[in-house]
Symmetry: C2
Subunit: 99 residues, 2 copies
Amino acid sequence: MNSNLHNLLGYAAGSISMISFIPQVYKTWKIKSAKDVSIQMFILYTTSTFLWIIYGFTSNQYAIWIPNTIVLFLSITQVILKIKYDMRDKKEQKLKDNK
Amino acid sequence: MNSNLHNLLGYAAGSISMISFIPQVYKTWKIKSAKDVSIQMFILYTTSTFLWIIYGFTSNQYAIWIPNTIVLFLSITQVILKIKYDMRDKKEQKLKDNK
């Protein structure tokens, strides 16, 4: 495969990986709930994204480190929203139990 | 960064990306619900993973295409489970509405 096409493929794959996180962060923000979402997934994913950034940066593979920098931001946002809404649910549950 | 270390970084990043999907698939399977999970995320992620496999395969980057082949399987599994449990929820909702 010629290198231009190969670079294009990398940009496409990276951009779609990046875009794929937006619907989940949006859905969590909209419905104000992430009960069914696994926090372990997003903590692990944040870690791997961080490593991909170093991998791509140290080998000048823009197709890898640029999209992953944005995914890192989205993944951290998802972790924060998940913790926020799970803590709210726990508080509400406690109030109900104490009634 | 020397190439061995760089390869190691790629394997680590790829393996953690791969592992990160297991808790989400397991959680969905265990609680039999994926209401809060975004299907658009996993459909987009399946697409990007497929492109990463071609990207890595055509440039002999094992650190990219091997983990992504497993992620593809996990991502498709998540889409199937999500559809399955959402359809069951819809059916149950219809039964309740018809009572």
